[in-house]
């Protein structure tokens, strides 16, 4: 992909707020979610989970459960194959423990029975002989030499000798000589921060239905962010050929990165194979919290040097992330993102991944970036307070721009950070007066955005309508955006296009819906598939008119002669060409397959006003404004929704959400009563200001928007709380007890 894809144009449909195609289905209950799938003869699957944070599984006796009437199959780790590939082995071992239970909630056995009550009774009859082992659930404890070892032999070659075996990888990024830069600073501030693990908090629990036939073919219906990835993982675990496993993605009730892997799908397939009947598994909320992936929990040290006029002279950060009981690369993303917003001569970040007895991390919106940028942006704010400088001015003074050598290596092409900061500074929110006791905070945010493997088919129907088949579950409005881009390119009304999400047997491979990639990459493939179809329609018109195909062009949804020398013919619309397609060569379709690159990085700036109740420690969010460079906003309502949703999840992360472990290593709050996500009454309206700085890597200038919005809230709220309460907290969440403790000194 190149950076010359973009051509400036006047849009007729892209950028409008058309009706969402899934709206009626979702408000009437017609939409089919993961738990809605059924099949004749279906069994109920249930999973037995470890009550211990760390234990050797010495033996599992399933005989009494097998003897229970109605039980049709039981599996344990012994029913799944040994895997050579380390990545697949980790995914499989996380779905079903082999010789050790690595965290509270780790699956150790599963049952398929004729009904839920029988399955539940059978779980109680399974006897697991555990040898309880010492555990460690905190990243700072786990990195210490002598800490209980979660898994042995997982350390990469880049980790220095002598460290705990829990340390699996090390990374370092940056340039210049920080020591030289610090020597030029008027003040050097060093601070340490911690962030809790948080869950993506999707409302729909994981659910799937597996049907494995006696001839070795299987079908799987599940809620997922990527049916093709589910097929890859499950086919490897089940030792199947990809062609024999068809995976269909349901509508999805939220994912945010947490549904980019598998937890129950291979278990359901293995049970179905053993029972010879379809098996459905639906997780409880308790299981979702205990056994699916939250984000990493982290501990970070930051050191920033600044002159008294606000120029950063050097910056360093050391990040310690734990992605649970398995190796995890998220710290690399955090270390690259930490200082990406700034133009620095001397910068260095160091990342360490550390295993703990917690569930295996799954991605969560901009994985790794919110935590590291929180630490950087909070430290920066403290320096601004020290020097009495305006925090937006300081960020503008240091902002990365075109030609800046980024803190993670590449030189930035055109980027939108300065424009975003300037928009924030000019917005009425930034200059609005505050009352006594209220505080205002700001923060920058950054995310990379990706493209990836994408495949789109576009079929022109004989009645002049168009069907689009794409392969990414629609989480944030992609069906509307894809239809809009096709409508724009084809020159036909949006309502004449229907986009559907295909199963894995109906389309070529598509990467997961992640990395803010779908509107960018699938949109790009859709535009090119439309151009492919347009080329074919021009060819049909040329034959009808008896002129060269090169003498025909596409304009406003119709073929027209290209210039006066091509001849005089009335335009043929898409519908007219489609109506005679059988007579002119058969069905008309366009296709495009690509591994898209050129997604373009994205920056955001958030402003938040809060008021801390000094008696209760509770923080009230009073006003919130999000500024983000979206490239071209294809459907502005969805873009605003992404920006608002990211802010809300970040508010929860900053103020209340956390995985709390007891001394026994068990999760203390696996439910929404004790794990508190923000609800509507906690929140003010969130204003979203979209900046449209075209991405040169996309024909319409589109960038991803799904992830950047969760990055700034952590520090923005920290900085606002500090200015409201007069005390600065260095740990998230800033829950009322923690705020009260800080106020008490």
């Amino acid at each position: 992909m190149s950076l010359d894809e973009y051509t400036r144009r006047e849009f007729k449909q892209v950028g409008t707020r058309v009706r969402r195609p899934d709206g009626v289905d979702k408000v009437t209950g017609r939409a089919m979610y993961g738990a809605d799938a059924t099949a004749p003869g279906m069994l109920v699957g249930r999973i037995l989970r470890s009550p211990h944070a760390h234990a050797r599984v010495k033996g599992i006796d399933t005989s009494a459960a097998e003897a229970l009437k109605g039980v049709k199959a039981i599996i344990t780790g012994a029913d799944l194959p040994a895997q050579e590939d380390e990545f697949i082995r980790d995914v499989q071992d996380n779905c079903m423990a082999r010789d050790k239970a690595l965290y509270d909630g780790h699956a150790v056995a599963a049952v398929a029975a004729t009904d839920a009550a029988t399955a539940k009774a059978a779980l109680k009859l399974i006897k697991v002989d555990y040898e309880v082992l010492p555990h460690v659930t905190d990243v700072d404890a786990a990195i210490q030499p002598g800490a209980p070892v979660v898994q042995s032999g997982r350390t990469l070659e880049n980790v220095p000798a002598g460290m705990s075996e829990n340390v699996t990888s090390h990374s370092e990024f940056g340039h210049g000589d920080p020591a030289e830069g610090f020597a030029r600073a008027d003040m050097i501030l060093e601070r340490s921060y911690r962030t809790a693990a948080t869950h993506q908090g999707y409302i729909e629990p994981h659910a799937c239905l597996a049907s494995y036939a006696s001839d070795g073919k299987a079908d799987l219906w599940c809620c997922t962010q990527g049916q093709f990835n589910v097929r890859t993982l499950c086919a490897a675990i089940m030792e199947m050929e990809a062609s024999q496993l068809r995976v269909t993605a349901s509508e999805i009730g939220g994912g945010f990165g947490g549904k980019t892997t598998v937890f129950i799908e291979p278990v359901a397939l293995a049970l179905s194979r053993k029972a010879g009947r379809p098996v459905k598994i639906v997780m409880t909320r308790d299981e979702v919290f205990r056994a699916t992936g939250p984000t990493v929990h982290t501990s970070t040290d930051v050191k920033i040097g600044m002159t008294k006029d606000g120029r950063i002279t050097a910056a360093e950060a050391t990040l310690r992330y734990s992605g649970g009981a398995f190796p995890c690369g998220t710290v690399d993303m955090g270390a690259q993102a930490a200082f990406a917003a700034y133009d620095l001569d001397h910068v260095r970040t160091y990342g360490w991944n550390v295993m703990t007895n917690r569930p295996k991390e799954a991605a969560y919106r901009a994985p790794g970036a919110p935590q590291s940028i929180y630490a950087v942006e909070a430290t920066l704010d403290e320096l601004c307070q020290h020097f009495g400088l305006d925090p937006l001015d300081v960020r503008l003074k240091n902002a990365a721009k075109k030609g800046t050598k980024s803190s993670y290596g590449p030189t930035f092409p055109d980027i939108g950070l300065t424009a975003t900061l300037e928009a924030a500074k000019a917005h009425p929110h930034y200059s609005a007066p505050l009352k006594d006791g209220q505080g205002r905070g700001i923060s920058c945010g950054f995310w990379f955005n990706f493209g990836g493997n994408t495949c789109v088919s576009l079929n022109v129907n004989t009645d002049g309508t168009v069907g689009i088949t794409e392969g990414n579950p629609d989480i944030g409005g992609s069906r509307a955006s894809i239809s809009l881009m096709a409508a724009e390119e084809l020159g036909i009304p949006y309502d004449r296009i229907r986009t559907i999400v295909a199963d894995t047997s109906s389309l070529g491979y598509n990467d997961v819906t992640d990395g803010s990639r779908v509107t960018f990459a699938v949109g790009l493939a859709t535009i090119k598939a439309a151009r492919d179809a347009i080329g074919k329609m021009c060819g049909r018109a040329a034959r009808i008119w008896g002129i060269d195909p090169e003498a025909v062009e596409w304009k406003d949804g119709a073929t027209v002669p290209a210039g006066p020398n091509a001849g005089k013919f009335p335009p043929m619309t898409l519908a007219e060409i489609a109506a005679v397609s059988a007579e002119t060569g058969g069905p008309i379709a366009g296709h495009h397959e690509v591994n898209a690159d050129g997604a373009g990085v994205s920056f955001g700036v958030h402003i938040v006003d809060v008021e801390v109740d000094r008696d209760t420690g509770a923080t009230k969010v009073l006003r919130y404004t999000v500024f983000q460079d979206a490239g071209k906003a294809v459907h502005p309502s969805y873009v605003e929704g992404q920006m608002q949703g990211g802010a809300v999840q970040g508010i929860g992360w900053a103020l209340n959400e956390e995985y709390i472990y007891g001394k026994d290593g068990r999760l203390q709050n696996p439910g929404f009563l004790d794990y508190r996500v923000p609800v509507a009454s906690d929140l003010p309206p969130i204003d979203a200001v979209i900046l449209e700085i075209p991405n040169p890597g996309h024909p319409y200038g589109v960038r991803g928007v799904g992830e950047t919005g969760i990055v700034p809230p952590l520090a923005a709220i920290t900085n606002a709380v500090c200015r409201s309460a007069g005390v600065r907290l260095h740990e998230l969440p800033m829950s009322p007890p923690r705020v009260l403790k800080a106020l008490a000194g």
Binding site: E172, R365, G409, F412, G452, D514, A599
Partner: protein
């Protein structure tokens, strides 16, 4: 010859360097030459890397052409949510 910037923790696999030169015209050739010239980099290349070429990040794309003046930065394989 193409200058390739490595991230800091790869220097242990590249004789202590964070910038190396190899003869390569494409992404694939670059990875092959790096692994040949610096066997210590091979485990990371096998696990996965991204490549930034003149500021655009590529996750795969073997046949992406690299010019002699291109800015080439090796990066960890990018993942998202």
């Amino acid at each position: 010859m193409v200058k390739v910037r490595l991230w800091g923790s790869l220097r242990h696999g590249a004789d202590g360097q964070t910038e190396v030169e190899v003869e390569a015209r494409t992404f694939k050739e670059l990875l092959d030459r790096l692994a040949e010239a610096y066997p210590g980099l091979e485990p990371q290349i096998r696990r996965g890397v991204s490549l930034s070429l003149d500021g655009v990040i590529y996750r795969e794309a073997w046949f992406t052409e690299i010019g002699p003046e291109s800015e080439v930065v090796l990066m960890p394989y990018m993942t998202g949510g």
